[in-house]
């Protein structure tokens, strides 16, 4: 079954675009069956029902029903491989 990843940031543009690209490449390179949706963190609450994983560049404003990862590593460029692995573990 295709899994859905929500990539969220404060405005749904700047940092999430960087992370979106990274996650999309990650999925392609590892042949994982998943789609990526980019959104604002405020939209995550209403979209979580139809998703499997949240990858957020910003602090989580509330607790969600699905697993959530913080993706600061992709923005700073430090510890990117470790985060790659965590995301893949959730999607496999």
């Amino acid at each position: 079954m295709t899994k859905t990843v929500l990539v969220a940031c404060g405005a749904g543009i700047a940092t999430s675009t960087v992370v979106c690209n990274r996650v999309e490449n990650l999925i392609k390179d590892n042949k994982v069956d998943a789609t990526v949706i980019q959104c604002k963190i405020a939209e995550v609450a209403s979209r979580q029902e139809s998703a499997d994983l949240i990858v957020s560049t910003t602090i989580l404003p509330t607790t969600y029903k699905i697993p959530a990862l913080i993706a600061t590593s992709y923005i700073t460029g430090i510890g990117m491989e470790a985060l790659d692995k965590k995301i893949l573990d959730h999607l496999k």
Binding site: A8, C9, G10, A11, G12, I13, A14, T15, S16, T17, V18, N21, Q38, K40, I41, A42, E43, A45, S46, S56, T57, T58, I59, L60, P61, T62, T72, I75, T76, G77
Partner: protein, 423 residues
């Protein structure tokens, strides 16, 4: 020689959709991303511009006439459309000074770091657009390249200083270890907001009030969804403009479309910039990353905090209400209603997440911001015309809270106008 000059002039007249891809190609080569990647980046950025242009067209064509109707029917003088930061950023990147300012701002950061003038290494190249915006403001007003560079560098220094100063605060409150947030708008709204916030905590009675972020997020959640917000605002504005049912519906869908499509178009612009931004980041990391410094990142990292979110959601209807009743305001808030979390991030951290205090401080901040954005409208519109986003001499004026209603940029505007008056 004459034919060479006319050739250069010909290219310049083609506008940013042609010039920017060429400029990005060269900047990409400068940062060593290779010809293929740089070429692709340039083309993608050109496409992003075409896209943003289309969406601004939908916004201005629909909202402009409706705003005029509201003026005639109710005397609401909200004739300046808030096109939001995406259009301000695009206009800044499209400014003739943008290409030279990116390397200059990088070098200024490095010099300050080496001289210990700042502790922040700003690797968030995307948000260099705020520095470029200051430069573009100076350029539009004075027409001088040197003055534009001066404005951008001044803006950058102040933003880095604010980032240094607020770093302990945001590291402690948001838990962002070793990070500072040199984002132009967040830094510009920060100091004044913190001052107001501090005054509010001194008012007896007020300092005991609290509110719970979770329940506010649930109740005001609709203001966090740009598409629904666009729809509702469009419908209300259509009604106020006296349109018939069809017209009102069309207005609602159009404004929902703008709210959804604008970020998508900016995303394309961003995608083009990513290889260059990553190359610059890696370069800076390798050379200067081992010092005891703060890594400067996008303030977007902090805005998801529950109290920031809750405060921003409440501030959306407050901003609209103030815009209607505020004497001297002509800005119709729209695009930047979604950017409010960025303006209050530092203030909420300073007030330790007290939402009631943050909302009060935010209310004063948006009031000032609306006045500044009104004052900025003429120059902001010129910047958009320079980027060929709107037809010269068009009926609708454009501003934004992010660029026009930003204290530091407004100070740059006043500085430029003063300079122009003297020299």
């Amino acid at each position: 020689m004459d034919s060479l000059l006319s050739g250069v002039q010909y290219v310049l007249n083609l506008g940013p959709t042609v010039i920017l891809p060429i400029a990005i190609l060269f900047i990409g080569l400068l940062f060593g991303t290779g010809f293929k990647n740089s070429f692709k980046s340039g083309i993608i950025i050109g496409i992003g511009f075409v896209g943003i242009n289309l969406v601004i067209g939908v916004l201005v064509d629909n909202l402009g006439p409706a705003a005029q109707q509201m003026v005639e029917r109710f005397g609401l003088s909200l004739t300046v459309v808030d096109a939001g930061w995406p259009s301000a950023a695009a206009a800044s990147w499209a400014s003739p000074v943008a290409a030279v300012l990116i390397p200059i701002c990088l070098v200024v950061n490095i010099i300050l770091l080496v001289l210990k003038g700042t502790k922040t290494l700003d690797i968030d190249i995307w948000n260099y657009w705020h520095f470029i915006a200051a430069g573009a403001t100076g350029y539009v007003v004075t027409g001088s390249w040197w003055f534009a560079i001066l404005c951008a560098v001044l803006y950058e220094i102040v933003v880095l200083k604010v980032a240094d100063w607020t770093a302990p605060l945001i590291q402690k409150y948001f838990g962002l270890e070793g990070i500072s947030l040199p984002t132009g708008s967040t830094a510009a709204f920060g100091p004044i907001g913190i001052l107001i916030g501090w005054l509010i905590t001194k008012i007896p009675g007020l300092n005991k009030l609290h509110a719970d972020p979770e329940s506010i997020q649930k109740r005001f959640g609709i203001f966090g969804e740009p598409m629904m917000m666009g729809l509702i605002l469009g419908l209300v504005i259509g009604l106020l403009a006296g349109y018939d049912v069809g017209g009102v519906t069309k207005m609602g869908i159009s404004m929902a479309a703008v709210m959804l499509l604008m970020p998508r178009m900016v995303k394309i612009l961003m995608e083009g910039l990513i290889p260059i931004s990553e190359a610059a980041r890696n370069f800076l990391h390798k050379r200067y990353g081992d010092r005891d410094i703060y890594i400067g990142l996008d303030a977007a990292l902090s805005v998801g905090h529950p109290s920031v979110m809750a405060t921003a959601l409440i501030l959306v209807p407050i901003t609209l209400f103030i815009a209607v009743i505020l004497p001297g305001n002509r800005v119709l808030p729209f695009g930047d209603l979604a950017t409010i979390p960025f303006y209050i991030a530092f203030v909420v951290a300073f007030l330790r997440g007290n939402i009631i205090h943050s909302v009060l401080a935010g209310t004063v901040m948006v009031t000032l911001s609306l006045w500044m954005a009104t004052d900025f409208a003429a120059v902001h519109t010129l910047m958009m015309e320079g980027a060929q986003f709107t037809a010269p001499g068009g009926a609708t004026e454009i501003s934004s809270l992010d660029l026009g209603g930003n204290l530091f940029n407004w100070a740059i505007l006043k500085f430029s106008q003063m300079w122009n008056a003297i020299f």
